[in-house]
Amino acid sequence: MGGFLKSSIAKKVAMALSGLFLVLFLLQHFTINLTSVFSEDLFNELSHFMGTNFLVQAVLQPVLIFGVIFHFVMGFVLEAKNRGARNVKYVKYNGGANSSWMSRNMIYSGLVVLAFLALHFYDFWVPEIVHKYVESHPEDASRYYSEMIVKFEDPIRVAAYCLSFVFLSLHLLHGFSSSFQSMGWNNKYAKGVRGLTVAYAIIIPLGFIFIALFHYINNL
């Protein structure tokens, strides 16, 4: 595996696969979050299932954490290598004439998403792990909704969430369809993939922003 990942194309494909895996995870996360808007009970039920199911906790969660870390680390490795391929920079470089801002700045949109993940882990994942595995509280299937909404009382945190999702949208606008190209999937369906990319990259982050604002306004 290490030998295979030495090649430039293999690195591209690895980035694409880990990215698409995270795209699928995001859809699942969004679906569960959305239930919090219309049903406290359903949100609690789904959150409890995700938080206590053995398969989710012992298998899918480690796979997800590995996927996230792999995507970020490989992103940094590729960025460093790519920057190193041109030691003497251009005095004038007109990147806007031939490529999108999103495609040229994946490292920056990715860094914002990484910063958001740190906040997200601090807000939800770390307290959850402490609650379950460190302090070993008894199971309580009704606690998730109330624990969640208090996080959306602070307007600065809500603003940070919203801004992060704008950058996630920019990241997805290039990354989603780009991963198909990396895997060699550029054919008569490419236009459809591009359309799906734009729809996904706008609807899902906008949905997350809507959920955050909904709970903030509800808390007022």
Binding site: F4, K6, S7, S8, I9, A10, K11, K12, V13, L78, K81, N82, R83, G84, A85, R86, N87, V88, K89, Y90, V91, K92, Y93, N94, G95, A97, N98, S99, S100, S103, R104, M106, H174, S178, Q181, S182, M183, G184, W185, N186, N187
Partner: protein, 248 residues
């Protein structure tokens, strides 16, 4: 037309270069960009200064020799042309034009605006060919039926002139558009199948060894390519590479 040229001057491969400004007058819109540089060089020679070194050969847009990063874009602001096909009517009186060599570690500067693009030759030599027995019993290539669509795509890939604009345009200095065009032109034809596995593995290995960056699908190469080589070729090369990897 009166212009200010800001040109990269570098004495040799080891020297430190710098941008130098040259005012120039009397440039006509019908001149090609290279003819404009010829005018500048005549003036410099008349003044006893070193002329600006730049690559050029056919001046018809087919040899791939002329290069130049002009105002931040390889071959200048126009599309589907090489620098020799760029005309001064694309610029306005009073403009400042920044002229730099194609930049990539794999394309070291030889002098001024001339870079060494032999990395492309080595990628081609690593597998960009078909082995044909020519000892008197050569079979006519046309006797093997080829799907029209494949033949057209192969020809389109083969129109790559190896100028290096893809590398120059790419923010990562990646050579994947060039390499993929050379892989594709054979991968699409029956004559290319015999050596297909070794070809893509060896050409990609050489491309990586030369120190080019990795492709991040910005698409800048496709836009700046004077021959319109498509990104589909990179996707095809990726497929060929993954397929070849599984064959060992």
């Amino acid at each position: 037309m009166k212009l200010t040229l800001k040109i990269w001057r570098q004495e040799n491969a080891k020297a430190t270069g710098k941008m130098v400004s040259y005012p120039i007058d009397g440039i006509e819109g019908d001149m090609s960009f290279l003819e404009m540089l010829d005018v500048l060089n005549e003036e410099l020679v008349a003044k006893g200064e070193d002329p600006v070194e730049f690559d050029h050969d056919c001046r018809e847009g087919i040899c791939g020799t002329c290069s130049l990063q002009i105002n931040g874009e390889p071959h200048g602001p126009d599309r589907l042309i090489t620098t020799c096909q760029l005309h001064m009517r694309k610029f306005n009186d009073g403009d400042t034009i920044v002229i730099e060599p194609f930049r990539a570690n794999a394309f070291p500067v030889v002098k001024d605006l001339i870079v060494d693009r032999s990395a492309f030759d080595r990628i081609q030599q690593a597998g960009g060919y078909v082995s044909v027995n020519t000892s008197g019993n050569t079979i006519d290539a046309n006797s093997i039926p080829v799907n029209k669509h494949d033949a057209d795509d192969s020809f389109a890939a083969a129109t790559c002139i190896g100028c290096g604009a893809c590398v120059a345009a790419c923010k990562n200095a990646s050579a994947m558009l060039f390499t993929s065009a050379k892989v594709s032109q054979y991968a699409l034809l029956p004559q290319g199948q015999v050596e297909a596995t070794d070809r893509v593995m060896n050409m990609v290995r050489q491309m990586d060894l030369e120190g080019f960056g990795n492709c991040t699908n910005t698409g800048a190469c496709e836009i700046e390519c004077p021959k319109g080589i498509s990104l589909e070729n990179i996707a095809r090369m990726n497929r060929e590479y993954l397929s070849a990897s599984t064959k060992g």
